[in-house]
Protein backbone atom coordinates (compact mmCIF):
# COMPACT_ATOMS: atom_id res chain seq x y z
CA UNK A 1 0.00 0.00 0.00
CA UNK A 2 1.39 3.40 -0.85
CA UNK A 3 2.93 5.71 1.69
CA UNK A 4 0.37 8.45 1.04
CA UNK A 5 -2.37 6.09 2.21
CA UNK A 6 -0.48 5.21 5.35
CA UNK A 7 0.08 8.86 6.16
CA UNK A 8 -3.55 9.86 5.61
CA UNK A 9 -4.72 6.87 7.63
CA UNK A 10 -2.52 7.87 10.53
CA UNK A 11 -2.87 11.66 10.46
CA UNK A 12 -6.11 12.36 8.60
CA UNK A 13 -4.41 15.17 6.71
CA UNK A 14 -1.02 15.99 5.27
CA UNK A 15 0.58 19.38 5.55
CA UNK A 16 2.23 19.09 2.15
CA UNK A 17 -1.12 18.17 0.54
CA UNK A 18 -3.01 21.50 0.47
CA UNK A 19 -6.21 20.04 -1.00
CA UNK A 20 -8.50 22.25 -3.05
CA UNK A 21 -12.13 21.22 -3.38
CA UNK A 22 -13.36 22.89 -6.54
CA UNK A 23 -17.05 21.88 -6.29
CA UNK A 24 -18.86 22.72 -3.06
CA UNK A 25 -22.13 24.13 -1.82
CA UNK A 26 -23.41 25.55 1.46
CA UNK A 27 -26.70 25.69 3.36
CA UNK A 28 -29.70 23.39 3.53
CA UNK A 29 -31.12 21.57 0.53
CA UNK A 30 -34.65 20.32 -0.15
CA UNK A 31 -33.66 16.80 -1.22
CA UNK A 32 -31.74 15.59 1.81
CA UNK A 33 -30.57 16.46 5.27
CA UNK A 34 -27.22 18.29 5.38
CA UNK A 35 -26.30 18.55 9.03
CA UNK A 36 -22.90 20.19 8.52
CA UNK A 37 -23.69 22.89 5.98
CA UNK A 38 -23.22 26.20 7.81
CA UNK A 39 -20.09 28.23 6.96
CA UNK A 40 -18.83 27.84 10.52
CA UNK A 41 -19.12 24.06 10.65
CA UNK A 42 -17.78 23.69 7.11
CA UNK A 43 -14.69 25.74 7.94
CA UNK A 44 -14.05 23.55 10.97
CA UNK A 45 -14.59 20.28 9.09
CA UNK A 46 -12.20 21.38 6.34
CA UNK A 47 -9.37 21.58 8.86
CA UNK A 48 -9.90 17.99 9.89
CA UNK A 49 -9.18 16.69 6.39
CA UNK A 50 -6.53 19.26 5.45
CA UNK A 51 -8.69 21.06 2.91
CA UNK A 52 -6.98 24.36 2.19
CA UNK A 53 -9.61 25.96 0.01
CA UNK A 54 -13.14 25.25 -1.17
CA UNK A 55 -14.88 26.92 -4.08
CA UNK A 56 -18.62 26.84 -3.47
CA UNK A 57 -22.02 28.17 -4.43
CA UNK A 58 -24.70 28.44 -1.75
CA UNK A 59 -27.86 26.37 -2.30
CA UNK A 60 -30.08 29.35 -1.59
CA UNK A 61 -28.37 31.37 -4.32
CA UNK A 62 -29.05 28.57 -6.79
CA UNK A 63 -32.58 27.68 -5.76
CA UNK A 64 -34.11 30.84 -4.31
CA UNK A 65 -34.03 33.50 -7.04
CA UNK A 66 -35.05 36.37 -4.77
CA UNK A 67 -31.97 36.12 -2.61
CA UNK A 68 -29.21 36.33 -5.22
CA UNK A 69 -25.61 35.88 -4.13
CA UNK A 70 -25.89 37.44 -0.69
CA UNK A 71 -24.93 34.27 1.24
CA UNK A 72 -22.00 33.55 -1.08
CA UNK A 73 -20.57 36.99 -0.48
CA UNK A 74 -21.09 36.93 3.29
CA UNK A 75 -19.42 33.52 3.71
CA UNK A 76 -16.31 34.45 1.73
CA UNK A 77 -16.01 37.72 3.64
CA UNK A 78 -16.09 35.74 6.89
CA UNK A 79 -13.55 33.12 5.77
CA UNK A 80 -11.51 34.75 2.97
CA UNK A 81 -8.60 32.31 3.27
CA UNK A 82 -10.76 29.18 3.18
CA UNK A 83 -13.64 29.99 0.84
CA UNK A 84 -14.03 31.34 -2.69
CA UNK A 85 -17.40 31.45 -4.41
CA UNK A 86 -18.99 30.91 -7.77
CA UNK A 87 -21.53 33.54 -8.68
CA UNK A 88 -24.83 31.63 -9.01
CA UNK A 89 -26.55 31.89 -12.37
CA UNK A 90 -30.23 31.14 -12.79
CA UNK A 91 -30.93 31.66 -16.51
CA UNK A 92 -34.64 32.08 -15.82
CA UNK A 93 -33.94 35.48 -14.27
CA UNK A 94 -32.18 37.65 -16.83
CA UNK A 95 -32.44 40.86 -14.79
CA UNK A 96 -30.52 39.26 -11.95
CA UNK A 97 -27.84 38.03 -14.36
CA UNK A 98 -27.50 41.53 -15.81
CA UNK A 99 -27.02 42.95 -12.34
CA UNK A 100 -24.55 40.23 -11.32
CA UNK A 101 -22.43 40.77 -14.42
CA UNK A 102 -22.41 44.53 -13.92
CA UNK A 103 -21.22 44.19 -10.34
CA UNK A 104 -18.95 41.16 -10.84
CA UNK A 105 -15.70 43.18 -10.72
CA UNK A 106 -16.69 44.64 -7.39
CA UNK A 107 -16.43 41.10 -5.95
CA UNK A 108 -13.17 40.01 -7.54
CA UNK A 109 -11.93 38.84 -4.14
CA UNK A 110 -15.12 36.77 -3.67
CA UNK A 111 -15.75 35.04 -7.00
CA UNK A 112 -13.61 32.87 -9.26
CA UNK A 113 -16.39 32.58 -11.84
CA UNK A 114 -19.88 31.22 -12.31
CA UNK A 115 -21.89 28.17 -11.32
CA UNK A 116 -24.53 26.77 -13.69
CA UNK A 117 -27.13 24.09 -12.99
CA UNK A 118 -28.80 23.44 -16.36
CA UNK A 119 -30.53 20.19 -15.32
CA UNK A 120 -32.15 21.89 -12.33
CA UNK A 121 -33.02 25.20 -14.00
CA UNK A 122 -34.28 23.35 -17.09
CA UNK A 123 -32.32 25.47 -19.55
CA UNK A 124 -29.80 23.94 -21.97
CA UNK A 125 -26.22 25.18 -21.91
CA UNK A 126 -26.49 26.40 -25.49
CA UNK A 127 -29.74 28.29 -24.82
CA UNK A 128 -29.61 32.06 -25.48
CA UNK A 129 -30.36 32.70 -21.78
CA UNK A 130 -26.80 31.67 -20.85
CA UNK A 131 -25.19 33.67 -23.67
CA UNK A 132 -24.27 36.79 -21.71
CA UNK A 133 -22.63 34.72 -18.98
CA UNK A 134 -20.48 32.73 -21.39
CA UNK A 135 -19.48 35.88 -23.28
CA UNK A 136 -18.50 37.59 -20.05
CA UNK A 137 -16.54 34.57 -18.79
CA UNK A 138 -14.85 34.14 -22.14
CA UNK A 139 -13.84 37.78 -22.36
CA UNK A 140 -12.43 37.76 -18.81
CA UNK A 141 -10.98 34.21 -18.90
CA UNK A 142 -13.09 33.13 -15.93
CA UNK A 143 -13.98 29.72 -14.56
CA UNK A 144 -17.43 28.32 -15.29
CA UNK A 145 -18.41 25.25 -13.25
CA UNK A 146 -21.43 23.59 -14.76
CA UNK A 147 -23.36 20.56 -13.62
CA UNK A 148 -23.09 17.92 -16.38
CA UNK A 149 -24.74 14.52 -16.69
CA UNK A 150 -24.53 11.90 -19.41
CA UNK A 151 -27.59 11.75 -21.64
CA UNK A 152 -29.04 15.05 -20.44
CA UNK A 153 -30.49 17.33 -23.08
CA UNK A 154 -29.59 20.28 -20.83
CA UNK A 155 -25.97 19.51 -19.94
CA UNK A 156 -24.95 16.25 -21.61
CA UNK A 157 -21.92 15.87 -23.91
CA UNK A 158 -23.63 17.37 -26.94
CA UNK A 159 -24.48 20.60 -25.10
CA UNK A 160 -21.00 20.76 -23.56
CA UNK A 161 -19.37 20.53 -26.99
CA UNK A 162 -21.53 23.31 -28.41
CA UNK A 163 -20.16 25.62 -25.72
CA UNK A 164 -16.50 24.69 -25.80
CA UNK A 165 -16.32 24.93 -29.56
CA UNK A 166 -17.55 28.49 -29.29
CA UNK A 167 -15.80 29.82 -26.18
CA UNK A 168 -12.08 28.99 -26.12
CA UNK A 169 -10.88 31.47 -23.49
CA UNK A 170 -13.02 30.58 -20.51
CA UNK A 171 -12.19 27.62 -18.26
CA UNK A 172 -15.02 25.11 -18.33
CA UNK A 173 -15.19 22.68 -15.41
CA UNK A 174 -17.49 19.75 -16.04
CA UNK A 175 -19.11 19.01 -12.68
CA UNK A 176 -19.55 15.22 -12.35
CA UNK A 177 -17.53 14.75 -15.58
CA UNK A 178 -20.67 14.21 -17.73
CA UNK A 179 -21.53 11.35 -15.40
CA UNK A 180 -21.90 8.01 -17.13
CA UNK A 181 -20.80 9.13 -20.58
CA UNK A 182 -17.19 8.33 -19.70
CA UNK A 183 -15.75 7.69 -23.15
CA UNK A 184 -17.09 10.97 -24.45
CA UNK A 185 -15.81 12.73 -21.32
CA UNK A 186 -12.28 11.47 -22.00
CA UNK A 187 -12.53 12.50 -25.65
CA UNK A 188 -13.65 16.01 -24.70
CA UNK A 189 -10.91 16.38 -22.06
CA UNK A 190 -8.31 15.38 -24.62
CA UNK A 191 -9.62 17.53 -27.45
CA UNK A 192 -10.26 20.82 -25.70
CA UNK A 193 -7.52 22.58 -23.80
CA UNK A 194 -9.85 24.69 -21.67
CA UNK A 195 -11.98 21.83 -20.29
CA UNK A 196 -11.50 20.14 -16.89
CA UNK A 197 -13.15 17.13 -15.28
CA UNK A 198 -14.50 17.27 -11.73
CA UNK A 199 -14.92 14.18 -9.56
CA UNK A 200 -18.12 14.53 -7.50
CA UNK A 201 -20.21 11.36 -7.97
CA UNK A 202 -17.40 9.89 -10.04
CA UNK A 203 -15.42 8.53 -7.09
CA UNK A 204 -18.32 6.59 -5.63
CA UNK A 205 -17.80 4.01 -8.39
CA UNK A 206 -14.57 2.09 -8.86
CA UNK A 207 -12.94 1.99 -12.26
CA UNK A 208 -13.78 5.42 -13.68
CA UNK A 209 -10.88 7.55 -12.49
CA UNK A 210 -8.59 4.64 -13.31
CA UNK A 211 -9.87 4.86 -16.90
CA UNK A 212 -9.35 8.63 -17.00
CA UNK A 213 -5.75 8.16 -15.88
CA UNK A 214 -5.09 5.32 -18.31
CA UNK A 215 -6.21 7.67 -21.06
CA UNK A 216 -3.67 10.28 -20.04
CA UNK A 217 -5.89 13.07 -18.73
CA UNK A 218 -4.49 13.41 -15.19
CA UNK A 219 -3.62 17.06 -15.94
CA UNK A 220 -7.31 17.76 -16.56
CA UNK A 221 -8.84 16.29 -13.38
CA UNK A 222 -9.90 18.37 -10.38
CA UNK A 223 -10.82 17.14 -6.91
CA UNK A 224 -14.42 17.95 -5.99
CA UNK A 225 -16.95 16.51 -3.54
CA UNK A 226 -20.12 18.63 -3.48
CA UNK A 227 -19.20 19.22 0.19
CA UNK A 228 -21.28 19.48 2.43
CA UNK A 229 -23.16 16.79 0.52
CA UNK A 230 -20.27 14.38 0.71
CA UNK A 231 -17.45 13.72 3.12
CA UNK A 232 -13.86 14.72 2.38
CA UNK A 233 -12.18 11.73 3.99
CA UNK A 234 -14.44 9.37 2.05
CA UNK A 235 -13.43 10.99 -1.24
CA UNK A 236 -9.76 11.23 -0.27
CA UNK A 237 -9.76 7.51 0.59
CA UNK A 238 -11.48 6.72 -2.69
CA UNK A 239 -9.00 8.69 -4.78
CA UNK A 240 -6.05 7.04 -3.03
CA UNK A 241 -7.84 3.71 -3.45
CA UNK A 242 -7.61 4.06 -7.24
CA UNK A 243 -3.94 3.17 -6.81
CA UNK A 244 -2.70 6.05 -8.97
CA UNK A 245 0.79 7.35 -8.31
CA UNK A 246 1.73 10.21 -6.00
CA UNK A 247 2.44 12.61 -8.84
CA UNK A 248 -1.08 12.17 -10.26
CA UNK A 249 -2.60 12.38 -6.78
CA UNK A 250 -0.91 15.71 -6.12
CA UNK A 251 -2.10 17.11 -9.46
CA UNK A 252 -5.69 16.05 -8.81
CA UNK A 253 -5.86 17.00 -5.14
CA UNK A 254 -4.49 20.50 -5.64
CA UNK A 255 -1.93 21.07 -8.43
CA UNK A 256 -4.31 21.38 -11.37
CA UNK A 257 -6.79 23.54 -9.44
CA UNK A 258 -4.08 25.80 -8.08
CA UNK A 259 -2.92 26.61 -11.62
CA UNK A 260 -6.46 27.48 -12.71
CA UNK A 261 -7.20 29.70 -9.74
CA UNK A 262 -3.88 31.54 -10.05
CA UNK A 263 -4.37 31.95 -13.80
CA UNK A 264 -7.88 33.24 -13.34
CA UNK A 265 -6.96 35.67 -10.61
Amino acid sequence: MNKIWNKFLKEGKLFDFPIIDIHCHMGFFYGSQMPYSSPEIMAKRMEKAGIKLIVFCHHYSLFFPEIGNKFNIEAVKKYPDKFKAYCAINPNYQDTIKKDLETFDKYSDIYVGFKLLPDYHRVSLSDYRYKKVFEFANKNKLIVLTHTWGGSSYDGAEEVEKIIKKYRNLILILGHSIHGDWKKTIEIAKNYENVYLELTAVLDERGIVEEFIENGVSNKILFGTDFPWFNHHYYIGALIGTGINEDALRKIFYGNAMKLIKKER
Binding site: S32, S37, L203, R206, H233, G237, A238, T242
Partner: protein, 253 residues
Amino acid sequence: MKIKFIDTNIWIGKLMNDKNKISVTTDQLLKKMEELNVEKAIVYHISQRDVHPDFGNEVLINEISDKPNLYGILTVLPFQTGEIRENIFKNLKEKKIVGFNFFPKRHNYILDKITFGDFLSYLEDKRFPVFFDILSGFSVDYKDLYLILRDFPKLTCILCNVGIWNTNRYTWPLLEKFENVYLESSLLSLSEGAIEETVKRYGADRIVFGSGFPERYIEASILQIVHSDISDNDKEKICYKNIERIIKEIKYE
Protein backbone atom coordinates in the same frame (compact mmCIF):
# COMPACT_ATOMS: atom_id res chain seq x y z
CA MET B 1 -5.44 3.86 17.08
CA LYS B 2 -5.33 0.66 15.07
CA ILE B 3 -8.80 -0.79 14.55
CA LYS B 4 -9.85 -4.23 13.43
CA PHE B 5 -12.35 -4.27 10.54
CA ILE B 6 -15.04 -6.74 9.54
CA ASP B 7 -16.50 -5.73 6.19
CA THR B 8 -20.20 -6.67 5.90
CA ASN B 9 -20.82 -5.54 2.34
CA ILE B 10 -18.76 -7.23 -0.36
CA TRP B 11 -19.51 -9.44 -3.33
CA ILE B 12 -17.09 -11.66 -5.22
CA GLY B 13 -17.00 -13.09 -8.73
CA LYS B 14 -17.10 -11.87 -12.30
CA LEU B 15 -19.87 -9.60 -13.56
CA MET B 16 -21.30 -10.64 -16.89
CA ASN B 17 -20.94 -7.05 -18.13
CA ASP B 18 -17.89 -5.63 -16.40
CA LYS B 19 -17.49 -2.36 -18.29
CA ASN B 20 -15.59 -0.66 -15.45
CA LYS B 21 -13.37 -3.72 -14.82
CA ILE B 22 -14.29 -3.95 -11.15
CA SER B 23 -14.87 -7.71 -10.68
CA VAL B 24 -12.69 -9.47 -8.14
CA THR B 25 -11.75 -13.06 -7.52
CA THR B 26 -11.67 -14.43 -3.99
CA ASP B 27 -7.87 -14.33 -4.01
CA GLN B 28 -7.83 -10.69 -5.15
CA LEU B 29 -10.24 -9.83 -2.35
CA LEU B 30 -8.12 -11.60 0.25
CA LYS B 31 -5.04 -9.73 -0.96
CA LYS B 32 -6.88 -6.41 -0.70
CA MET B 33 -8.11 -7.26 2.79
CA GLU B 34 -4.60 -8.08 3.89
CA GLU B 35 -3.26 -4.77 2.50
CA LEU B 36 -5.88 -2.80 4.41
CA ASN B 37 -5.94 -4.87 7.61
CA VAL B 38 -9.53 -5.98 7.07
CA GLU B 39 -9.65 -9.10 9.18
CA LYS B 40 -12.90 -10.67 7.99
CA ALA B 41 -15.56 -10.12 5.37
CA ILE B 42 -19.15 -11.20 4.88
CA VAL B 43 -19.67 -11.85 1.18
CA TYR B 44 -22.06 -13.18 -1.42
CA HIS B 45 -21.18 -14.40 -4.89
CA ILE B 46 -22.45 -12.25 -7.74
CA SER B 47 -23.84 -15.37 -9.44
CA GLN B 48 -26.40 -15.60 -6.61
CA ARG B 49 -27.84 -12.36 -7.98
CA ASP B 50 -27.06 -12.52 -11.68
CA VAL B 51 -27.16 -16.23 -12.58
CA HIS B 52 -29.44 -18.14 -10.18
CA PRO B 53 -29.58 -18.19 -6.38
CA ASP B 54 -29.44 -21.97 -6.08
CA PHE B 55 -26.42 -22.22 -8.35
CA GLY B 56 -24.78 -19.15 -6.79
CA ASN B 57 -25.27 -20.34 -3.22
CA GLU B 58 -23.28 -23.46 -4.02
CA VAL B 59 -20.55 -21.45 -5.72
CA LEU B 60 -20.36 -19.22 -2.63
CA ILE B 61 -20.16 -22.11 -0.18
CA ASN B 62 -17.35 -23.68 -2.19
CA GLU B 63 -15.48 -20.39 -2.49
CA ILE B 64 -15.47 -19.61 1.22
CA SER B 65 -15.16 -23.14 2.60
CA ASP B 66 -11.36 -23.07 2.92
CA LYS B 67 -11.05 -19.32 3.56
CA PRO B 68 -11.22 -18.81 7.32
CA ASN B 69 -11.74 -15.05 7.14
CA LEU B 70 -14.67 -15.11 4.71
CA TYR B 71 -18.28 -15.64 5.80
CA GLY B 72 -21.27 -16.05 3.52
CA ILE B 73 -24.82 -14.86 2.86
CA LEU B 74 -27.29 -17.12 1.05
CA THR B 75 -29.87 -15.88 -1.44
CA VAL B 76 -33.34 -17.37 -1.51
CA LEU B 77 -36.31 -17.46 -3.90
CA PRO B 78 -39.99 -18.13 -3.13
CA PHE B 79 -39.99 -21.73 -1.88
CA GLN B 80 -43.27 -22.41 -3.69
CA THR B 81 -41.39 -22.91 -6.99
CA GLY B 82 -38.98 -25.44 -5.51
CA GLU B 83 -35.92 -23.84 -7.10
CA ILE B 84 -33.88 -23.67 -3.91
CA ARG B 85 -32.70 -27.07 -2.72
CA GLU B 86 -33.46 -27.71 0.93
CA ASN B 87 -30.09 -29.28 1.70
CA ILE B 88 -28.54 -25.84 1.36
CA PHE B 89 -30.00 -25.00 4.79
CA LYS B 90 -28.23 -27.86 6.55
CA ASN B 91 -25.13 -27.21 8.66
CA LEU B 92 -25.26 -23.45 8.14
CA LYS B 93 -22.86 -22.80 10.99
CA GLU B 94 -20.28 -25.20 9.58
CA LYS B 95 -20.69 -23.59 6.18
CA LYS B 96 -20.04 -20.17 7.80
CA ILE B 97 -23.37 -18.78 6.62
CA VAL B 98 -24.26 -15.74 8.72
CA GLY B 99 -27.31 -14.34 6.96
CA PHE B 100 -29.57 -14.15 3.93
CA ASN B 101 -30.34 -11.70 1.17
CA PHE B 102 -33.17 -11.23 -1.30
CA PHE B 103 -33.25 -9.69 -4.77
CA PRO B 104 -37.01 -9.54 -5.45
CA LYS B 105 -36.76 -6.87 -8.15
CA ARG B 106 -34.06 -8.86 -9.97
CA HIS B 107 -35.65 -12.26 -9.48
CA ASN B 108 -39.22 -11.11 -10.02
CA TYR B 109 -41.31 -11.86 -6.97
CA ILE B 110 -42.86 -9.99 -4.04
CA LEU B 111 -40.99 -10.09 -0.75
CA ASP B 112 -43.78 -10.03 1.82
CA LYS B 113 -45.85 -12.06 4.26
CA ILE B 114 -47.73 -13.88 1.50
CA THR B 115 -44.64 -15.22 -0.24
CA PHE B 116 -42.23 -15.56 2.66
CA GLY B 117 -44.29 -15.36 5.86
CA ASP B 118 -43.01 -18.61 7.42
CA PHE B 119 -39.42 -18.06 6.38
CA LEU B 120 -39.27 -14.45 7.58
CA SER B 121 -40.79 -15.54 10.90
CA TYR B 122 -38.10 -18.24 11.10
CA LEU B 123 -35.34 -15.70 10.43
CA GLU B 124 -36.86 -13.36 13.00
CA ASP B 125 -36.99 -16.12 15.58
CA LYS B 126 -33.50 -17.47 14.87
CA ARG B 127 -32.07 -13.94 14.66
CA PHE B 128 -30.49 -14.50 11.27
CA PRO B 129 -29.66 -11.09 9.78
CA VAL B 130 -31.12 -10.19 6.41
CA PHE B 131 -28.84 -8.01 4.29
CA PHE B 132 -30.89 -5.65 2.12
CA ASP B 133 -29.12 -3.88 -0.75
CA ILE B 134 -31.08 -0.65 -1.12
CA LEU B 135 -29.16 1.22 -3.81
CA SER B 136 -28.82 -1.44 -6.49
CA GLY B 137 -32.48 -1.45 -7.47
CA PHE B 138 -32.36 -5.27 -7.45
CA SER B 139 -33.51 -5.78 -3.88
CA VAL B 140 -36.02 -3.58 -2.01
CA ASP B 141 -36.71 0.13 -1.76
CA TYR B 142 -37.59 1.94 1.45
CA LYS B 143 -41.32 1.60 0.92
CA ASP B 144 -40.95 -2.21 0.63
CA LEU B 145 -38.79 -2.24 3.72
CA TYR B 146 -41.28 -0.24 5.80
CA LEU B 147 -43.99 -2.77 4.88
CA ILE B 148 -41.81 -5.81 5.65
CA LEU B 149 -40.89 -4.40 9.05
CA ARG B 150 -44.54 -3.70 9.89
CA ASP B 151 -45.16 -7.44 9.54
CA PHE B 152 -41.85 -8.63 11.02
CA PRO B 153 -40.87 -5.96 13.55
CA LYS B 154 -38.21 -8.07 15.27
CA LEU B 155 -36.43 -9.04 12.03
CA THR B 156 -32.68 -8.39 12.17
CA CYS B 157 -32.02 -6.24 9.12
CA ILE B 158 -28.76 -4.80 7.88
CA LEU B 159 -29.47 -2.06 5.37
CA CYS B 160 -26.57 -2.03 2.91
CA ASN B 161 -25.83 0.68 0.35
CA VAL B 162 -28.39 2.96 1.98
CA GLY B 163 -28.37 5.56 -0.82
CA ILE B 164 -26.08 8.19 -2.36
CA TRP B 165 -27.83 11.27 -1.01
CA ASN B 166 -28.07 11.48 2.77
CA THR B 167 -30.82 8.99 3.70
CA ASN B 168 -31.48 9.96 7.33
CA ARG B 169 -35.06 10.90 6.46
CA TYR B 170 -35.65 7.26 5.41
CA THR B 171 -33.46 5.40 7.88
CA TRP B 172 -33.90 7.25 11.15
CA PRO B 173 -37.63 6.43 11.50
CA LEU B 174 -36.65 2.76 11.09
CA LEU B 175 -33.94 3.04 13.72
CA GLU B 176 -36.46 4.68 16.02
CA LYS B 177 -39.20 2.05 15.63
CA PHE B 178 -37.33 -1.23 15.05
CA GLU B 179 -34.64 -2.27 17.49
CA ASN B 180 -33.03 -4.87 15.20
CA VAL B 181 -32.44 -2.57 12.24
CA TYR B 182 -28.80 -1.75 11.51
CA LEU B 183 -27.18 0.47 8.91
CA GLU B 184 -24.14 -0.63 6.93
CA SER B 185 -21.65 2.22 7.04
CA SER B 186 -20.28 2.77 3.52
CA LEU B 187 -22.79 5.28 2.20
CA LEU B 188 -23.29 6.83 5.61
CA SER B 189 -19.57 7.56 5.43
CA LEU B 190 -20.06 9.12 2.01
CA SER B 191 -22.66 11.60 3.30
CA GLU B 192 -21.06 14.43 5.24
CA GLY B 193 -21.94 14.13 8.93
CA ALA B 194 -24.20 11.09 8.59
CA ILE B 195 -22.07 8.77 10.75
CA GLU B 196 -21.60 11.37 13.47
CA GLU B 197 -25.22 12.47 13.61
CA THR B 198 -26.61 8.92 13.50
CA VAL B 199 -24.33 7.91 16.36
CA LYS B 200 -25.32 11.00 18.32
CA ARG B 201 -29.02 10.23 17.94
CA TYR B 202 -29.25 6.43 17.94
CA GLY B 203 -25.89 5.25 19.25
CA ALA B 204 -23.00 3.43 17.60
CA ASP B 205 -24.67 0.08 18.29
CA ARG B 206 -26.85 0.53 15.19
CA ILE B 207 -24.11 0.77 12.54
CA VAL B 208 -21.91 -1.97 11.08
CA PHE B 209 -18.86 -1.39 8.93
CA GLY B 210 -19.03 -2.08 5.19
CA SER B 211 -17.49 -0.86 1.97
CA GLY B 212 -19.57 -1.91 -1.04
CA PHE B 213 -16.41 -3.37 -2.60
CA PRO B 214 -15.78 -4.06 -5.45
CA GLU B 215 -18.21 -1.40 -6.66
CA ARG B 216 -16.73 1.15 -4.27
CA TYR B 217 -13.38 1.61 -2.53
CA ILE B 218 -12.67 -0.02 0.85
CA GLU B 219 -10.16 2.77 1.51
CA ALA B 220 -12.94 5.37 1.38
CA SER B 221 -14.99 3.69 4.12
CA ILE B 222 -11.97 3.05 6.31
CA LEU B 223 -10.55 6.57 6.11
CA GLN B 224 -13.87 8.20 6.95
CA ILE B 225 -14.61 5.99 9.96
CA VAL B 226 -11.10 6.23 11.36
CA HIS B 227 -11.22 10.04 11.27
CA SER B 228 -14.88 10.53 12.13
CA ASP B 229 -15.85 12.69 15.12
CA ILE B 230 -16.97 9.82 17.34
CA SER B 231 -15.25 8.12 20.27
CA ASP B 232 -12.75 5.28 19.84
CA ASN B 233 -15.17 3.01 21.64
CA ASP B 234 -17.90 3.85 19.11
CA LYS B 235 -15.48 3.24 16.23
CA GLU B 236 -14.73 -0.23 17.56
CA LYS B 237 -18.42 -1.02 17.83
CA ILE B 238 -19.01 0.01 14.23
CA CYS B 239 -15.90 -1.58 12.79
CA TYR B 240 -16.30 -5.07 14.26
CA LYS B 241 -17.98 -5.44 17.65
CA ASN B 242 -21.58 -4.95 16.51
CA ILE B 243 -21.39 -7.49 13.71
CA GLU B 244 -19.61 -9.99 15.97
CA ARG B 245 -22.49 -9.60 18.44
CA ILE B 246 -25.13 -10.01 15.73
CA ILE B 247 -23.47 -13.21 14.50
CA LYS B 248 -23.10 -14.56 18.02
CA GLU B 249 -26.84 -14.07 18.57
CA ILE B 250 -27.80 -16.31 15.64
CA LYS B 251 -29.57 -19.43 16.96
CA TYR B 252 -28.22 -22.13 14.64
CA GLU B 253 -30.10 -25.46 14.55
